[in-house]
Structure formats: C-alpha cells, structure tokens
C-alpha cells in the first residue's frame, strides 16, 4: 500500500496511531522510503525529550525549540542517507548534542565579549552557584529547582551533556559513548566527576531532604 504523503491527512492520523508501537528503526526506514506519516510518529515520540534536553542544555526555551526543530529537519533531510548501523536514539542525540554544544559555545563567545574570557566551559555560571551562601539564600526563596538547574549548568560541557543524557533522557552509558564519540570508560569518568560535583554542590539540599 502506498503511504500517505500529507501530514494532516485523516488517513495519516490513523496510521500514526497504529504505528505508535513500531520501533524507531522501522519508522526511520519508512521515512527513508518517503513515508511522511512515519516521520510524524517520530516527531510526536521525540518532541518532548528533545525540547527538554535542549532546555536543560541551553536554558533558553525559544532557543531549545529552535534547536529541536533543527534536529527534526536534519533527520528528515538526511533520511535517504540513513544507515541503521547504530540505534536511532544514538543518532538523534548525537545531532542534538552537537547542536547544543555549538549553541553553548556561541553564546559563551557572545558573553565573553562583554563579561570576560570564559575558558573553562560554564565557569561564568559557576559564579552563581557558590554552594553555601547562594544555596541558603535561594532556599529562603523556596526555589530548589533553580538551584539544581544552576548546579547542572555550572558543569563543564561534556559532563553536563553526559549527566543530562544519563539522568534525564535515560540514555545508557554505552549509548552516551556513541553520542559523545568517546570511550565507555571516558563516559563513566565523566559521569563520576559530574555526580560527585553535584553531590558536593547540592549538599545543603540533600541535608535538608534528610531532615
């Protein structure tokens, strides 16, 4: 049966519902063959994870949506060259991570032009997450989420990407190695350092949670 070619067609909506249980790989192979309905399923499946990922990586909601849109566009444009050698999510998050890291660097360059040089990847943000007084001050404001966000954002780029992928996107560390193009032991090392840094920085919140 010839697949439908219009995204808002009623038959496409029916197909989207029936294809919801199909694997990413099968869907992507159909997209490669020109099935727009399968792309619609992938869009619905990964819109929230991707926007959330970018939101946590770059903080800005508008930029996060722009980058997520760019990922979907790149996936669609390169559909004919897609080779199912790695998992679909590895490929998807590799595109996303490259875009996010580039955006972070671009923004850092812009900020460094006005505030000063920032050679350590996120060290500007680190100024705002001095653990003791700042956390206490923010606890008084009842803004735990913001403290957590700033603690994660203060991590170096690769550690931040590794933690967000592992903790929030629930990506396996072997896959993270493929996404970041590093070895599995390097990913473990990144995660170890990142989680330990977070534990130290968020210790006041952890102690409070114990009480």
């Amino acid at each position: 049966m010839r697949p439908p070619q219009l995204l808002n067609d009623r038959s496409v909506l029916y197909n989207v519902a029936t294809m919801a249980i199909e694997s990413d790989l099968d869907l992507m192979l159909r997209v490669r063959d020109g099935d727009v309905a399968s792309f619609e399923v992938l869009l619905r499946r990964y819109r929230l994870p991707l926007v959330s990922y970018f939101r946590r990586m770059v903080r800005d909601q508008g930029l996060a949506e722009d980058l997520a849109q760019e990922v979907f566009l790149r996936v669609y444009k390169s559909r004919e060259r897609y080779q199912p050698e790695a998992r679909f999510t590895t490929w998807l998050y590799r595109i996303a991570t490259n875009l996010a890291l580039n955006a972070i660097r671009d923004r850092r360059d812009e900020v460094s032009g006005t505030v000063g040089d920032d050679s350590d990847g996120g060290s500007i943000l680190e100024l705002f997450v001095d653990p003791q007084p700042t956390v206490e001050q923010r606890l008084m404001q009842g803004d735990r989420e913001r403290v957590i966000r700033h603690a994660v954002e203060a991590l170096p780029e690769n550690q931040r990407a590794a933690v967000i992928l592992h903790k929030y996107q629930e990506v396996d560390y072997r896959q993270i190695a493929g996404i970041l193009s590093v070895s599995e032991s390097a990913v473990k090392s990144l995660l170890f350092r990142a989680y330990e840094t977070l534990r130290v920085r968020l210790e006041p919140l952890l102690r409070e949670g114990q009480i």
Binding site: R44, I148, L191
Partner: protein, 199 residues
C-alpha cells in the same frame, strides 16, 4: 576495614557497573557505614535531580517543524523535469543546436549574407588587375563562354536601378567587381594564343 574507591561506589549507585562488580559493592556496603552513606547520598541526589522537571514544547512547536519540513521538501522539488540539473543542461544544449541550425539555414536561403563585404572584394581587383581596358570591355560582354570548363558569367541586370538606394548601388557594384575579378582569375589560367568563343 578499608573503604572502596568513590568511583566504584558512584558507579554502583548509578548502575554503571556489571553484576559481578555490583555484588562485590553490595557485600561491602553491608559492613561499611561510611561507604553506605556515600551511596545513600547519591541515591538522594538522584531524587533531588528529579525535581528539575521537563519542559513541554509550546503548542505551535509541531506546526513549526511541519512547516520547516514542508519548506525543505518544496525547495528540493522545484518542478519535475526542470528541477533536474541534467535536464537544464540538455535544454541549453538543444537551444544551442537550434541556433546553429537556424544560422546555417539562413545562410543557405540568403547566400549574400555569407559573402565577404565590398571592401574585401575590391582588394583583388586593385592588386591583381594587369589587364588592358580592351580586355576588360570584352569581359563586360553579356556572356563569355570559355572552353576549358569555364562557366559563363551572365550579366546581372537591374543591379543599378534608378530607384535603388545608394547602399544597394554599392553592393551591386561590389558584386560586379567580384565577378570581374573571378573571371580574370579564370582567364589567366587559359593557355596563351587559344581563341575565345563569344556569342
């Protein structure tokens, strides 16, 4: 009791180890409160990090993606045959062939268009005209029939009509000069002393 390295404890807390290493850490935690405290802290850290909630895309996000994808499709297919590189090349080549064929046809239908200009035809006469006035007058006769395969050159009546423009006069004169020069060339190839037959 010697505590385990923090890296091993963290790896265990976040499920980064294989089952064998995990069972070894579990056995150690049963006996070491300090290591157990570190693992528990990381368990609480995991729960704390969960407080940073995911962000929903704006309602128009899907529409934006669809629009971007649709626009990329439209750019990719600008219009069937003409959207292909080889088709455009083929069309240009065909146009070139048509132009050349048209020029060839035009010169066949209008031979004067391919002849040299009057200035060029006068040069041979000026340089290569060793004949006398009498010979020239003879050649101006209506038809000259040579013997050795020479074609008669008929006179061209009406070239100098009274109502023709000056440009046409010049062209007619140029053609006449050209014919004369050609006849001189042909005559010079005839053997000397042979009689010429004329009507």
């Amino acid at each position: 009791m010697k505590c385990l390295e923090t890296e091993r404890l963290i790896s265990y807390a976040y499920h980064l180890t294989d089952e064998l290493a995990a069972s070894q850490v579990r056995a150690h935690l049963g006996e070491c409160s300090r290591c157990r405290e570190i693992v528990e802290q990381h368990g609480r850290l995991g729960a704390l990090l969960d407080e940073w909630k995911a962000t929903e895309p704006t309602p128009w996000f899907d529409a934006r993606v669809r629009q971007a994808v649709g626009a990329s499709q439209a750019r990719r297919k600008p219009g069937g045959f003409w959207g292909r590189e080889w088709a455009r090349g083929l069309a240009l080549a065909s146009l070139g062939v048509l132009i050349i064929a048209g020029m060839h046809w035009f010169t066949q239908v209008h031979p004067w268009a391919s002849k040299p200009s009057g200035i060029a035809t006068r040069q041979p006469q000026q340089v290569r005209d060793p004949r006398t006035t009498a010979q020239t007058a003879e050649l101006r006769s209506p038809i000259v029939v040579p013997r050795a395969g020479l074609k008669p050159v008929p006179a061209v009546p009406g070239f100098k009509s009274a109502d023709a423009s000056s440009n046409e006069d010049n062209d007619a004169q140029a053609l006449e000069d050209y014919d004369l020069a050609a006849n001189f060339d042909l005559l010079s190839e005839l053997p000397k002393g042979e009689p010429r037959v004329a009507n």
